[in-house]
Symmetry: C2
Subunit: 434 residues, 2 copies
Amino acid sequence: MKSVYEILRAKRDGKELSREEIAFLVAGVVSGEVPDYQAAAFLMAAVIRGLSTPEMAALTEAMRDSGDSWDLSDLAPVVDKHSTGGVGDKATLVLAPLVAAAGGRVGMMSGRGLGHTGGTLDKLAAIPGFRTDLDLPRVRRALTEVGAALFAQTDTVAPADRKLYALRDVTGTVESLGLIVASILSKKLASGTTGIVFDVKTGNGAFLKTVPESRALGRALVDTSRAAGREASGWITDMSRPLGRAVGNALEAEESILVLRNEGPPAVRELCLVLGADMLRFAEPALSEPDARRRLEEAFTSGKAAERFAKLVEFQGGDPRVVEDPSILPQPKSRIPAAAPRSGFVRSIQTEKMGFLSIDIGCGRRKREDDIDFAAGFLVEKTVGDRVEKGEPLAILCLGERPAPRPSFERELADLFEIGDEPAAPPALAIEKL
Amino acid sequence: MKSVYEILRAKRDGKELSREEIAFLVAGVVSGEVPDYQAAAFLMAAVIRGLSTPEMAALTEAMRDSGDSWDLSDLAPVVDKHSTGGVGDKATLVLAPLVAAAGGRVGMMSGRGLGHTGGTLDKLAAIPGFRTDLDLPRVRRALTEVGAALFAQTDTVAPADRKLYALRDVTGTVESLGLIVASILSKKLASGTTGIVFDVKTGNGAFLKTVPESRALGRALVDTSRAAGREASGWITDMSRPLGRAVGNALEAEESILVLRNEGPPAVRELCLVLGADMLRFAEPALSEPDARRRLEEAFTSGKAAERFAKLVEFQGGDPRVVEDPSILPQPKSRIPAAAPRSGFVRSIQTEKMGFLSIDIGCGRRKREDDIDFAAGFLVEKTVGDRVEKGEPLAILCLGERPAPRPSFERELADLFEIGDEPAAPPALAIEKL
């Protein structure tokens, strides 16, 4: 077995590390026997040289095994979805009750917002009383009784990831396919789910702006999950515009409920049908794609999906009346239209920038300890391809407890919309199945 | 100006760093503002991506400027020689008085042994009373009164190199042309010499075993020195066999004196003429190569070189009688022949291994705090190309205070000589001028 020194030299020279070498390194990072400077040297070598699929799988598993790992095998199949993050992406809130209502068992470990993107945990926290700090017995009961559980990653999950991520953040080693994959999957796999659908967002509102980059990440996520013995599939989906109409925690919770009640924006519904069909087919392998889709549509139209959401909310401590009366969610104190400065067609929306503006009004945190203003957000009234008349609202700025951070903030919001004379074709939602 | 984070990302992506960025990084490493893990990430990126000549020059100067730098410009030209290290390489002891006797001014900052190679400071310390801990005023006086000074690198020279070297040693980032060049030159340039001849050893007793590797290092050393405003030249010389007959500190000091007295082995004399001619021509640019060589030969034959060594020894606190009577050097307690197991021709010598064996009997240190046994060493009786009869000594094992570390140690020594039936052509000493 190589020493840490020899492992560093091997990776430096572009050699492939063995499963044992990677496990030894990660264990040393967690125990402190491998000091930060050796870990940093490894990370830099890994970024420049890249990681092979076996190396990614080994790193993923070593990081997962650095902390608690849940065993849900007696409840299998338990399915999950992971999104790489976008603006207005509330699919998790819809998918968990939807797939459960259609017969699947859904366990989803979620995180807080990152960068310009919102976090599922914050959207759920907008529902009065809703708790995501479930322990394993509680998750098992939710899976059995409700068929779905939405829970937060605990501090005892993948401590190696936390340690390595903090180092990556200060050593210029964040942008690495292999390290990103291992970071995502070490936490995902710790939750014990048996099938995962990856939603790789692409476009100006995603972390990866182009299809080739997204394809590479998606393929690596799928391949590495499979190498770790899970079922996996992936979709590249559009994030060149916000998903649906609502951006902001309570607004997105409300929109999720509307979608579940079959009253929401078609884009959110369609994305949930695409991703949900894969999830359902992991739960029932015999099901064809059209049959899976039909089953999900039925859950929407029959009211079973909405009903299941009420059950899920109740089980997790929230007020289930929210499904019938979303007005019990935190409500904006003011709604200010962001008017179109001219007539024409919406040709593009600066989506990432919209995410950052949403953080400015309290939808997300700049620092870990910041508070969220749950009522704050935007309602996107016009999207790419739409016709707009001068003075019509492109979006509505919804303020909660906090005032707008800058004067004429609604103008900043309106300026994110590029308006031209020619109609623009709206991009496809599901761009590519991996 | 980029932040450390941005500098790390730039180097990671193979971009060239500016002089200011490198200076900022090195200053941060020394002050502690750049923590070890960021320094380690930089080193790994530098090893994998390589350093350009301007980057090497910038790193060299930033490391030099991290500590004391001597100004000898009023005494210029002051010339120096640097060897990349070998077995039996005592050229510094000969060159300093030789070139001084021929009219040059020689200031040489030397180090201790490294790996399997001996260190000049230890060879000098074998001379009773000799001190190398000279401060700047003392070095200036030596240069003026003797024309030569041999002194140790102090702790205040290039602290950035010490800090980075310690990190390289534990992060698998030692083997980097750029970092090696900067490490060597940061110390060399701090001593204030104005012209440097590089002796890049190549072969099985050198750190670099092949001519192409040695050529790359030599070129980088010469180019980077010139970029830093010094005169520089370089030679690739043979280290596929020990240089001369003596290996070990007092034995090498004695052999140096014999060479200075025109009685030593031709190989040592020839190497000193080759390197010395370049040194002398830095001191006197008008001098042709043959004239420089003639001047040095004259210094040998006239006795002036030996005389100058006596002066140098006396000035540095040593007993100058050593030049006439080398027996005042520490003497071996026993001399054990390492006999040839068969008759034939010496075809090769495992030179690096001989270096390590010499450390086993006390010629060098395994750890920093180890003591040296000055009397210990080997006398190489047969070299590559020589005819030997079975039972004749290939070498003589000289033991000082310590016993041989293993039984039949002289057999291990004899086993380093490959003996074959066909004569082998001895390799050229000066392989290539850079």
